[in-house]
């Protein structure tokens, strides 16, 4: 009950303030991590004050939950725009190229925003639950895309699309982590190619 009473802005101005706080916090967390993002830094970046922050969030953990949700929407929206129109393996390879290009544009820095949140927050129950839901939604996006490819190709092989989605996501996360470490997209490209070959073998 208390968690519902806090954080619901009732006016347009309130909504705008809350949104500014979450936006600034999300950006700072993506760049520096949760532990290295102070509330004072969030306030400065969003041009708000302590009382505003604590008017909308119970504490820092509560703000972090909102950051997870916003970051989830950002990441899923990016991938959804590519995966929605998927209907062939060539389309899947275009998605691969887009992912690689996105990583290259930031010089492989930062890795996956959701993956980074996992390794920092996975030992806290509530954040971990939210992130698990995020990855489930991400997988569902891939499953839908695989289904579309399968439907288009006509051949209906008996294979588990969910398992395929899991390994593609694992290859993506592992590839991004190695890319971040080596500052090269090579590992990401190889990992995604392997996973997509697997998709082709199972689906075609």
């Amino acid at each position: 009950m208390a968690s519902i009473e806090i954080g619901q802005p009732l006016t347009a101005r309130g909504k705008a303030t809350r949104a500014r706080i979450v936006e600034a916090a999300t950006e700072l967390v993506r760049a520096h991590g949760v532990a290295n993002t102070s509330l004072d830094a969030v306030l400065a970046a969003s041009d708000t004050s302590k009382s505003q922050l604590y008017h909308y969030f119970a504490d820092k953990d509560d703000l972090v939950l909102a950051v997870i949700q916003r970051q989830t929407e950002c990441v899923l929206a990016t991938h959804e725009s590519h995966l929605r129109k998927l209907h062939s393996l060539a389309g899947l390879r275009r998605w691969r190229d887009a992912v690689v290009e996105l990583s290259r544009q930031t010089d492989c820095a930062g890795g996956c925003p959701l993956g980074s949140l996992v390794s920092e927050l996975a030992e806290s129950p509530r954040p971990r639950e939210l992130l698990a839901e995020s990855f489930a939604r991400w997988e569902a996006l891939l499953v839908a895309g695989f289904g579309a490819i399968q439907a288009r190709s006509g051949t209906r092989r008996d294979c588990d699309l969910t398992e395929l989605a899991t390994v593609v996501l694992a290859a993506l996360q592992g590839g991004l982590l190695l890319a971040q470490t080596t500052r090269s997209t090579r590992a990401l490209e190889l990992a995604l190619d392997m996973a997509i070959d697997r998709v082709e073998a199972q689906l075609a």
Copy 2:
């Protein structure tokens, strides 16, 4: 020069003290992350004092470098003991089972100690370099194992063992991250199976 002058204990007692500090710091960092590990906590866990810590390390960053090195040795030693005697695909699958079992034993918590360090430290040049070296050594271990399998099997296919090692490592890292999120080894098993199937296809 200065970095060499600090941190070299000259007596047996000094070496023991330094080792106790690094060991305690490594354990705390593995459990809570770098940013959530205070020097006071390290001192309490290692039963040492501030002046001892700053006698052997220039600052916290310097201690973190030592932690990266120690954690690297721990992880590589674990895998080396499995990969050294590798001479068949069945052996590689036993390594897979051991990795999965290790993850299961900790209820999938924590993920890979080196992977976690990457997402926390990859934006700092020196730590990133060290971690890149760690992964390179890990890959070299895999390459050596693949070479042994290839030599044993007799068939000499023309394939890039380094690329294979990279994708296996990516599958391992991505699988561990998803396992940590879902608290289930399922993703790790699927990802490693995919990668090992790839090894089989390329090597056999």
